[in-house]
Point group: C2
């Protein structure tokens, strides 16, 4: 039986899959989560819940940034959960 885990998107998150998805993030945020540009935030060790919200808001356009709106658009909820699990798990 599959039980929907509403409100707990991180429970099924896969940091390894997040790392693979993060290849498209690394030019600005690094695969180590340390920003490569002054205008890009560091992500290593950032709060998982905050990262999920940031990516969802970029995807929907509720939060506006030319680059991030483009990057987040194709992400699924699963991608977002995995990316947040990956970056939040890195050492700042």
């Amino acid at each position: 039986m599959t039980v929907a885990m509403a409100g707990a998107p991180a429970m099924a998150a896969d940091a390894q899959a997040g790392r693979a998805r993060a290849l498209q993030c690394q030019a600005c945020h690094g695969l180590d989560g340390k920003s490569k540009l002054p205008e890009a935030p560091h992500l290593a060790g950032q709060n998982e819940t905050y990262l999920v919200k940031a990516l969802k808001d970029y995807k929907t356009g509720a939060r506006k940034d030319e680059m991030m709106n483009l990057m987040a658009k194709p992400l699924t909820d699963k991608d977002i959960a995995n990316l947040a699990a990956f970056y939040s798990g890195l050492k700042p």
Copy 2:
């Protein structure tokens, strides 16, 4: 003679003054820049340029968050520069 430093807001930033201004931030972000709530990001060691942009966007409403729009509204450019200098200078 006073020379306007357009585009270099951080040059005159005062991290000590930023610390004093950060007393209103600490319930969520801590005076150590370590978030006290899952939905609030850690700020310690975050990029200064990114922090300035975040606060300006919250102040203008370009970036929307009920709490942060309220908190950022009264901040001057100088307050924002000082807060960004303070939080970016903390150890993550």
